[in-house]
Structure formats: C-alpha cells, structure tokens
Symmetry: C2
Subunit: 205 residues, 2 copies
DNA sequence: CGATCGTTTGAGGTTCCTCAACAAGTGTGG
DNA sequence: CCACACTTGTTGAGGAACCTCAAACGATCG
C-alpha cells in the first residue's frame, strides 16, 4: 500500500484540503502535527481532532470533506494515497480491507472517548483528560515531558472552553503538583493519579 | 449476511451487553430504540449514542465493549450477527467488506458531528441540534411530529446538561414558536430555520 | 526598537447547575 | 374507589463555574 503513497512536506498554516475539495485521497501523518477543523457558517472554527504521527485521515464518505486540515508544526510530513487505488487494493487484498476496517473502528472508539471527555463536568477534568490523551499519543522528550505541538488557543477550541480557562486549569494543576511546566509547550506529568481522579480509571488503560 | 442473524425481542431496561462481555457479536436495531452507555467508575452514567432502527453497533475493537446498551422502548427488536462469521464473509466477499467500511465511515462522520454538537456554546443550541438530529433519524407520526423514545433525563445525559436545562430550553423554543409540544414525548418542528439559527446550515443537508 | 503573538492573571457579568417544590400520570394495596 | 408511593416533567431561587473584557509580561521578528 505504501507504494501508492506520495510524501509531501508542509509548513504551519498550510491547509491540506478545504471543505469543498473532492475527497479523492486518503492521508497519513508521518511526522509533525495538524488539526482537523470544521468551519461553521458564522465563521467560528471548531477543532474536531488533532492529527499526530501515524494517524490516518480523510477516509470519510460525503461528510468527511466538510472538514479542513491545517498543519501546525513546521516540516510536517504527510503521505497521500489515491482513494480509488486503495479501495481496489482493499477489495483484492482482504488483509488490506481488514486493516482499514480496524483503523476505522479504532477511530470510532477514540471519538467516543472524546465525546465523554467533552461531556465532562468541569474544565479541570477536560484539561486533565486532554493531558492524559496527549501523554499517550504524543512524543516524549528526554526528561519524560510531553511536547504539546498546539497552542493554548487550539487546546481551548478542541475542549470547547475559553483560552483563559485552559490557562487557569493548567496553573491549578501545577499548583496542586499534578504537572510541571517547562516551556508552555512542555508538560511533565508528575502525579498521574491526580489527573485521573475525577475521571474513570478504566478508560485509558 | 442476514442469514447469519438472530432476531430477539427486548423490554425496557434490559441490557444487551455489559462492559466486560466479550464482543463476539455485532448488532443491528430492527425496531424500537436503545441507548449506548458508558458507566464510569464513580457510578455516573454517560449516554454516548441513541440507537434507532437501522443502526449497527458493537463493531468496535477492544474499546467498544467498554459500553453497555440498554433498551428503552418496549418490544424493541434487535438482530445479532456472529462476529467471526461476518468477518469471514467480509474477506471472501469484497462487497460486504466495502459496505462495512462505509458504515464505519458514516459512524465516524456522525460522531464528529455530535462532537461539534457537544461543543456548542449554549444549552439552547444543543437542544436545537438534538431535535434536528432526531427529526432526521427518528420516526415521524401522522401529524408530522417527532416521537422521542427517550426521557428528558436521557436527553440531558446525552447532551451533558442538567435535566432542568433541557426542560427550560424546550419551553423556550416553544415560546419562540420554533416547536410545538403535544405529549412531552411528541415534538413538532414548526420553524425549522429558528432551530437552525446559531448552527451551521451546511451540516445537516 | 516597536509590533505582534502567545501566555498568564485579574475583575465583572452571564449561563447553567444545584436544591427545592409542584403538577400530572401510573401502579399498588387497603 | 381512594389513598399512597413512585416516576416523569416543569418551574423557581440561589450559587458556582465559566465566559468576556482588560491588562501585563515575555518572546520572536521585522
């Protein structure tokens, strides 16, 4: 399947596909990071997902192309697969089809988890859950800290709360000793159970 | 594929599969309604999805079985498909595999829409979006009114707001002339554009 | 150096949640 | 048949959480 891929390098702010583009390609993040956005009629933007290395996207049906994807990290590498080619491959190679189905199922599971996250009661819970999610998905640097590739504004948009509330929640978590902040973009989880409290332990194993 | 199905009749409150059950089956709602729940460690319940006729569910990977499904309408009919049988069929019949992928992709699109719904600013927007969603998915009675199979408590849980707020929002929408209430469970949409205002028109075509 | 962006903190207002009460419908037992 | 408990839905009052507006700080860049 990788033989069908085209690899491209992007810079921050570049948009992969706008909402009206025909969804003729599937994409995969190789390195870097991007955000999947839904732009509403009134101009408001909502971030539906962060795309990190390994994530497959663009494989929706008619709805998927209602989203646009914007790169947020310099030098992000993204692979592009022609849709028809992949679908033919999926029908001739059962293994490929199965892999695609499983990827889709995992996306569903992740989305449902995120819905519970969004439904969380307090802003502190949302930010805590967000950090735990990033700790699993994101890369980790030398001192075991999470590198957050996105800005506070992006986080706020993603969690459906105000920027100031994100900032306050992070300060509160630091004050409690649950996390430590190096850069604003580097977070080290000190007390994992403190982040988990108020959330369900069973969710992120 | 329907030859593999087992059809069963359920009553309100019955649970289809608890969180720890091995996910050996796929399910489809034939008639009636059910709710997909995530039960948290602290006992709180969160409704992740309402399952209406035609909806396929249970097809997640390891995460999916973290949910339980409870029937909410008397006499709900649900078809059950053995998982392994369907997967074998998907690998031997490309058409079946493709259909399953498309179903999964549509689920993803619906979930992403619902995430935007949950991220909506006000409670009024959430309830409006919920009614529009139900108007598309739910059955319609003789006078063109939506039949809501779920209680206000279920709606509140689904939208992550308090029961009282749901009730107040519905009253507010009725006062504005956007909807009319027969029973509490029967809602007729009078002014569709009034519900849409504040939401993006492009979403639910 | 000035300007802009990203982040953090403070003050005030609004929405929504919590607690409470009430109304209507349903089932049960005396 | 009626009293009673129970469920579901609606409405009101008070308080808490969060959003909005505002300002300050550091960093980056032209």
């Amino acid at each position: 399947m990788e033989q069908l891929a085209t690899l491209t390098r992007y810079h921050p702010g570049e948009t992969l596909y706008y909402e009206d583009d025909p969804a003729d390609y599937w994409y995969r993040v190789v390195s870097g990071a991007a955000r999947k956005c839904a732009v509403m009629a009134d101009g408001r933007r909502r971030i539906v997902d962060f795309l990190l290395p390994g994530d497959l996207f663009g494989f929706g049906t008619r709805f998927e192309r209602l989203f646009s994807v914007e790169v947020i990290v310099d030098g992000t590498m993204i692979a592009r697969y022609p849709r028809r080619g992949v679908e033919q491959l999926a029908e001739s190679e059962p293994e490929v089809g199965r892999r695609i189905r499983e990827t889709a199922f995992e996306s569903i599971a992740r989305l449902q988890w995120r819905m519970i996250l969004l439904g969380s009661a307090t802003a502190l819970e949302k930010v805590s859950a967000f950090l735990l999610e990033m700790a699993e998905r994101s890369t980790v640097d030398s001192v075991n800290a999470i590198i957050l590739p996105m800005s506070r504004y992006d986080i706020a948009d993603y969690l459906a709360i105000a920027v100031e509330t994100v900032s306050r929640a992070l300060t509160e978590l630091r004050r409690k000793g649950a996390i430590a902040l190096g850069d604003p973009r580097r977070v080290r989880i000190v007390d994992r159970s403190a982040l988990r409290s108020g959330l369900d332990d069973g969710w992120r194993a």
